[in-house]
């Protein structure tokens, strides 16, 4: 193949994602992004300048060797490329889809200084899908069993990546999951149209084939306490990857009316329980068809909920967010997709109270306009209510998506765990050790609601939990 000059490379425009048509996709649950073709992937890969000092890598929380895997794609060696990625990231098909690339790897890509950055996420996704479609997924080699047992609590990205690394090192790893399905937020939160569940299942099957054991329907803190995992079940170390699954509510009047959901419940009913297929599946979800649905919040969860409501047939689907679009924490792609699909954004607007009827059904919401004041602790400008600007909107379903905190279930039965003021678990940032001997933690339980890739980074090798667990068990030193 002809080698392109940097100039020629810079001339190639970024290839957009091939997507389902917005009007069509907003009414189905199939994946929105369809992925690159091999030709597009090769061309997109040729846009990479192969920088001697690739800045993109520093933008990736798990330091994927981005330059090298893209070079392999440019050569047409897709399987080689996915192997290269998997040296640092166990779940490329997932991260390629859900990472906020625009503020991580792609933000740091030099091409982005003058042009649009190389589509690193799309390329990562492409090779991972290519490998899965080929049906020849490589199972990493596993060292001979060293007879040591590690318990992983929670099967979200943090738990899964920790499990993989420890299993490779020869540990007997058991993952305990509270729900009946494995994958954490990847299966109960993030919708099918953004992350098909089949992909999560394939990744987990890979871990099963490596010999990781999984126990669903098992809530640690209820069936075993952490202490019992050591004493009765004989584990040598415990990793807590229990996520931040406790939904926050607005704390305003009328929040217990019929029709007000937490995003967790709304999304769990649809994704995990498949309520969109009622009555083929038994769990129901309130009718959104031809109704008005309002979602409160501006993060990925809010976008997922509002786009789900459209797919359930909503006539008007609103995002109600108290700051401006610039402050929205959602991925840029999700906001773009939501707009294309017809979601209506009410920005600088905050709910005051929910309005119901005699029988307890939600009828509307009273809102107030906001303006931005001085920056707050998070560095974002603080929204302030504009007095007298109240107005009401008729709504039938409300979804509160203003964030989640760590679920206290496990702390209540493990009082020795030091908890921060934000009720997250306190850990040593280098080793992910908690205040309790033999217990490590990572992911949203430590950071509060964050991202898939950060959760994985905390659970995997390198400086983090899996490596520290290995060291602790081998040396016995805490």
């Amino acid at each position: 193949m002809k080698q392109l000059t940097p100039k020629e490379r810079m001339k190639i425009p970024r290839h957009p994602m091939i997507e389902q048509d917005p009007t069509e996709r907003s009414r189905n649950f199939k994946e929105v992004n369809l992925g690159y073709t091999p030709e597009l992937a090769i061309e997109e890969a040729q846009r990479c300048l192969q920088c001697p000092k690739p800045t993109c890598v520093a933008g990736c929380p798990v330091s994927i060797q981005i330059k090298d895997f893209i070079a392999l794609i440019a050569e047409g060696d897709f399987i080689g490329a996915v192997k290269k990625i998997k040296e640092d990231n166990a779940l490329p098909a997932i991260c390629g889809r859900v990472c906020p690339q625009e503020e991580q790897c792609e933000e740091a890509c030099v091409v982005g200084k003058r042009n649009e950055p190389v589509a690193i996420g799309y390329l990562e996704r492409f090779v991972a899908d290519y490998e899965r479609d080929s049906g020849k997924i490589d199972i990493p080699e596993v060292d001979r069993s060293n007879g040591k047992k590690v318990a992983i609590v929670g099967s979200g990205p943090a738990g899964l990546s920790c499990a993989k690394d420890l299993r490779e090192k020869g540990y007997e790893v058991t993952v305990f999951e509270a729900l009946h399905e494995l994958g954490g937020v990847l299966v109960y939160g993030i919708p099918e149209f953004r992350l098909p569940k089949e992909i999560v299942r394939t990744e987990i099957d890979g871990l099963k084939r490596m010999g990781v054991k999984f126990e669903t329907d098992t809530i640690i803190g209820r069936i075993f306490t952490v202490d019992e995992l050591f004493k009765e079940e004989g584990f040598d170390a415990v990793f807590l990857g229990v996520g931040a699954g406790l939904p926050w509510f607005l704390g305003i009047d009328g929040e217990n009316l019929n029709g007000v959901y937490s995003a967790n419940e709304f999304l769990t009913r649809v994704n995990l329980m498949k309520a969109y297929k009622f009555p083929d599946y038994d769990s129901p979800i309130l009718d959104c068809k031809d109704r008005n649905v309002a979602v409160f919040g501006g993060g990925n969860t809010a976008m997922d909920a509002v786009r789900t409501s459209l797919r359930l047939g909503a006539k008007n689907a609103y995002i109600i967010y108290r700051r401006s679009e610039k402050e929205m924490p959602a991925r840029v792609e999700e906001i773009k997709h939501a707009k294309e699909e017809g979601v209506q954004f009410m920005l600088l607007t905050n709910p005051v109270k929910f309005i119901g009827d005699e029988e307890g059904w939600l009828k509307g919401v009273e809102l107030i306009k906001m303006e931005l004041g001085e920056p707050d602790d998070s560095g974002r400008r603080r929204p302030i209510p504009v007095e007298g600007s109240n107005f009401t909107v008729d709504i039938d379903v409300a979804v509160v998506a203003i964030g989640n905190g760590p679920n206290p279930l496990i702390f209540k039965t493990t009082p020795e765990l030091e908890i921060s003021r934000r009720s997250t678990v306190v850990v040593d940032p280098d080793s992910m050790k908690t205040s309790k001997k033999g217990v490590f933690a990572g992911g949203d339980i430590v950071t509060g609601g964050a991202t898939v890739i950060l959760a994985m980074g905390a659970g995997r090798a390198g400086r983090k939990a899996a490596a520290a667990i290995d060291e602790y068990i081998q040396t016995g030193k805490w």
Binding site: I223, E255, M273, K274
Partner: protein, 288 residues
């Protein structure tokens, strides 16, 4: 997969199951429940652990067929399996020696009250049980309740057995007789629990009810089970299911439990049609 090692009807539409779940059997305490899912397309529903057998490694649940899932469950027989059983969930009942404790059960609520009545007895209370049913045939656990009670009463709405009247009438009668009651536990339909709360309120008798909001995960993750206690939202699956009856907003609970009425009726109708069809096919096959 969790094996059903025993299954039998206690009354029309009320079935007892013993399910193999040794770890839950070992850990469960009175007042706790499990969430089950019968099959891949099934809903997750909460059911109280009525009893457990450590030797056999089983838990007992007692199920009243009220809708699609419970009726489908009640078709299951000994030797069949339930796909998912997770627990023990919820806070155990707060048990101490209160003095005289009255345990009131309405309908299948009797089954839910039973383990707590046992624990109250073990803690040294003078235990009075009042168990209500619509009619004689629906009375359940009569012998079991008698065995743990210092005084046991049955009430029926139609007077076909025991005391003629509601459980609250009997409770009021005991109070009027001058019995010093220190603690009341009431479990049953929402109107019954509300009525009990109103009976005990003027006397300031500590009264606990076990609430039955609609649940999904049972771990505090969805917030669907939130109930208003003293005007504040609490999650029944982790903060409850037992709460101070005098602080519960029963209207909100009743409203919320009607949330999916339309869907429940549809699901039940479809299910019953399917059952009828299957029966018909079976009888045709047998006739052949």
């Amino acid at each position: 997969m969790y094996k059903i090692v025993d299954a039998r009807f206690l009354a029309e539409n009320i079935k007892l199951f013993e399910i193999e779940a040794p770890r839950i059997a070992k850990k469960r305490k009175a007042g706790q429940f499990v969430i089950i899912r019968i099959h891949e397309h099934g809903e997750r529903i909460p059911l109280t652990i009525a009893d457990s057998d450590l030797e056999k490694g089983t838990v007992t649940i007692i199920v009243q067929g009220v809708g699609k899932t419970t009726k489908e469950l009640n078709l299951k027989e000994k030797g069949e399996y339930i796909l998912d059983v997770v627990g023990p969930l919820g806070q155990p009942s707060h048990i101490e020696n209160f003095g005289t404790a009255v345990s009131i059960g309405g309908g299948v609520g009797t089954a839910i009250a039973y383990p707590t009545a046992v624990a109250l007895k073990q803690a040294g209370n003078y235990v009075i049980t009042i168990n209500g049913a619509r009619t004689k045939d629906l009375v359940i656990l009569e012998e079991e309740m008698k065995a743990v009670s210092d005084e046991a009463y049955i009430t029926t709405d139609d007077g076909s057995y025991g005391y003629h009247g509601f459980v609250t009438d009997k409770l009021q009668e005991l109070i009027d007789q001058g019995k010093k009651i220190d603690f009341v536990l009431a479990i049953g339909p929402i109107p019954m629990m509300k009525a009990v709360a109103e009976v005990t309120r003027p006397y300031n008798i500590k009264t606990i009810v076990s609430l039955n909001p609609i649940m999904v995960d049972g771990t505090g993750m969805c917030g669907g089970c939130r109930v208003l206690i003293d005007g504040k939202a609490e999650f029944a699956c982790v903060d409850g299911p037992e709460f101070d009856a005098h602080k519960v907003d029963f209207k909100n609970l009743a409203d919320r439990n009607r949330m999916y009425r339309k869907f429940e009726e549809e699901a039940l109708k479809k299910f019953e049609e399917k059952c009828k069809l299957e029966e018909k096919i079976k009888s045709l096959q047998e006739a052949e």
